[in-house]
Symmetry: C2
């Protein structure tokens, strides 16, 4: 596994070179001297001097499509399934094409999905949300009822507990979309779950509130029930009616899903149907035989809800080869933590031997994804590219080996280890591991 010997000299500094643009500059020089007046050593760029068909007639009018779609040239920027990963597409996974995106908001149309019994069609008129159990008065809300409660807007990431799960046993899937793409980051509009619980009334619980739970379930056949400590339910959970400004997609739980900030995606119940206040955790299928972390000795850790700090370089990466050769190179990626805002991301091009602090595009947001950039002058030699996130608690993303030393390799959940791309001299990358 030790690939370090193959690593070349690190790029020197982050200085920006103009070399990459001289070719273009020469073409412009020709253009400046008049169309067609090429210098002897440089053909003018026909796309500037002659062929601009798009400037010679009408484009499309405004009534092209009811809902605006990406241009046809971007048809490969879609969420993708991996056929063999689950028994049936009904219960499978669509990975976000994080390698091809920028910014922090995940476009709704290509955002990660995971269903346990398929995505159901549930009309707003048919929607009901029951709150029952240890409440003062059980209540049922229609969708229209929910719209009448005070709303909040918050941006949060949702990450599947199994994101990067295949990586426990070593580098497996090739591409950031498949290794880290079970994630999305959206701006939610919703009602604080606290508000709805207080509407049903929890005054009867007195000071026992801190020991109680809620059991949340969806309206699909799987119901996907999960137990959540009442303390978390009263803290920052949202009953979301919009994502990224518009209605939730069917596959994201239309018309209503639960948002459990910073905690594993399976708890963000879609098509949210019922919230029961309970004395104890229900110990459902989804929190016993699944979504527990099996250790080396065969025992399992449970209640491993929080998604620890993690990051990944999205470009360059196996799906995003460097095509321009050496010189100025933008290295970019995403970082996130379920415990707070991202405060720092470091990038290594030599497999973790040396680190440079990357630039956060904007200040970190609590339990939301951050975009980072590192601008380097690539010398054209191979790199072992890594990123390492630090969050507001001071927690630093560990190596995969450090995680394995504690947790073994039996789990498929909660792998937040440092990812390595071996970027070759030809600009192509592979998912590899370096010893640490």
């Amino acid at each position: 596994m030790d690939e370090k010997e193959r690593h070349a000299t690190p790029a020197t500094g982050t200085g920006y070179s103009r070399r990459g643009f001289l070719r273009a500059g020469a073409a412009a020089g020709a253009m400046a001297a008049g169309a067609g007046a090429a210098r002897a050593d440089q053909q003018p760029d026909p796309l500037i001097t002659e062929v601009q068909s798009w400037a010679q007639g009408w484009g499309d009018g405004v009534d092209a499509t009811p809902y605006g779609l990406p241009i046809e040239f971007e048809s490969d920027v879609i969420r993708r399934n991996v056929g063999w990963l689950t028994a049936d597409v009904i219960s499978s996974i669509n990975f976000t094409p994080i390698h091809a995106l920028d910014g922090t908001i995940t476009p709704t149309g290509c955002a990660f999905e995971r269903h346990h019994s398929g995505a159901i069609e549930l009309k707003k008129e048919d929607y009901r949300l029951m709150i029952n159990g240890l409440v003062d008065k059980p209540l049922v809300f229609t969708y229209e009822d929910l719209e009448r409660f005070p709303r909040e807007n918050r941006t949060y990431f949702l990450e599947c507990a199994a994101n990067s799960g295949m990586e426990w046993a070593g580098a497996q899937l090739n591409g950031a979309q498949f290794t880290q793409g079970m994630i999305h980051n959206m701006q939610y509009s919703g009602i604080p779950l606290r508000t709805l619980l207080e509407e049903a009334g929890i005054t009867n619980l007195g000071d026992q509130i801190k020991d109680k739970w809620v059991y949340v379930e969806g309206a699909d056949a799987s119901s996907n029930g999960r137990s959540i400590p009442l303390e978390k339910a009263l803290d920052d959970c949202l009953v979301a009616i919009k994502a990224n400004g518009e209605a939730l997609r069917k596959e994201h739980g239309y018309p209503v899903r639960l948002v459990v900030p910073g905690w594993e995606g399976n708890m963000w119940v879609k098509w949210l149907r019922r919230i029961e206040v309970t004395d104890e955790a229900v110990q459902s299928r989804e929190e016993t035989s699944k979504y527990t972390d099996t250790l080396a000795d065969g025992t399992s850790r449970k209640w491993t809800w929080v998604m620890d700090a993690k990051s990944v370089v999205t470009s360059p990466s196996p799906q995003m080869p460097i095509k321009h050769g050496k010189g100025p190179l933008v290295i970019t990626g995403m970082a996130w933590s379920g415990r707070g805002a991202i405060t720092k991301v470091d990038v290594s091009i030599d497999g973790g031997a040396n680190w440079q602090e990357a630039r956060l595009a904007e200040p970190g947001v609590d339990k939301a994804m951050s975009r980072f950039y590192l601008d380097i002058d690539w010398d054209g030699s191979e790199m072992f590219l890594q990123s390492r996130a630090t969050d507001a608690t001071g927690y630093v993303q560990p190596t995969k080996d450090a995680l394995r030393a504690i947790r073994g390799e039996n789990s498929v959940y909660h792998n937040n280890g440092i990812q390595t791309w071996w970027v070759k001299e030809n600009g192509e990358s592979e998912n590899v591991e370096v010893s640490s």
Copy 2:
């Protein structure tokens, strides 16, 4: 125009009532006693006790569509054209359905569009950006070249100068989508224009930089050329390659558009082809016969680039009637300013006689849209609903009458006057004016 006499008693305070939910509570009580065990005075809700077809079988698998679309039930939440507004759909307008959205990010698929000669198809491979004129060395960039420069991420609103333009002559179009929907708010990833200008070199300008201009034009047939002071170009303009994380839509200028934060949308040139550094403004069609503001005496104001602070209540509104009757009501809307962040939004339900401060969902963002909420207990009587934005400079959004007193009614541009919805007792609304 004085509709004030028709206004009813203001709703008293913002207290939250549980009345609206007692019906639902009673149904839940029945449910809690066992399915089918209805109380004599209350039928159980069959959607809870019996019919839950969606919980009895598989939903759709993950391979339904390449790009995830909104559920069919939301097919009315689309950008819309107004046929008679322009001579041809080629040069027309698609309005954002702001009435139906929440949060602050405008979903790309339903975001405002305006074309001057139609939306063109321009491949990344064919894309070229020239910087010429008074630069040290003219340059031409390919798309791939642009990807190699350090990038920024920033969220900005784009508003057409003609947004609300029909309102100069009084209440016209009925619905927030049509009165204020020539706007969107996106997170852009792009290269600072300053970086590209410095790459071409502006050292030859010495201290004359503050007097110079850039002329920017697009690759479509209209070219839509506009002059921008070099000082603004060097300040916060971006050459954007992504919007809301993904490639720009064709209709938004794929693959590259200019972002001119806080300034009128016409200057945000799409399919950006050329940037020329010039001694003086070019005085193009788009900044002389168009996009100047004709005053009452027939003279025109020009260089009216900045979009002043503005706001609108998006719900309730003509397209968003109140269907639930009196009781708890969420009033929500958007506010924005080209001069800085929104610091305060006030809402009036009596046509401007009394104002209550609304709640901003998140702290205001420089030159981006803010979401506001006001939660009231509606007494069921008619309202004259208004919102009024204040920005970081202390500027307060004026009434339409105050604007007209200064600028007359000849212009179609820069109407940022306060909008009024007459909300009737039956919950339906109309676009009206009240004297001020």
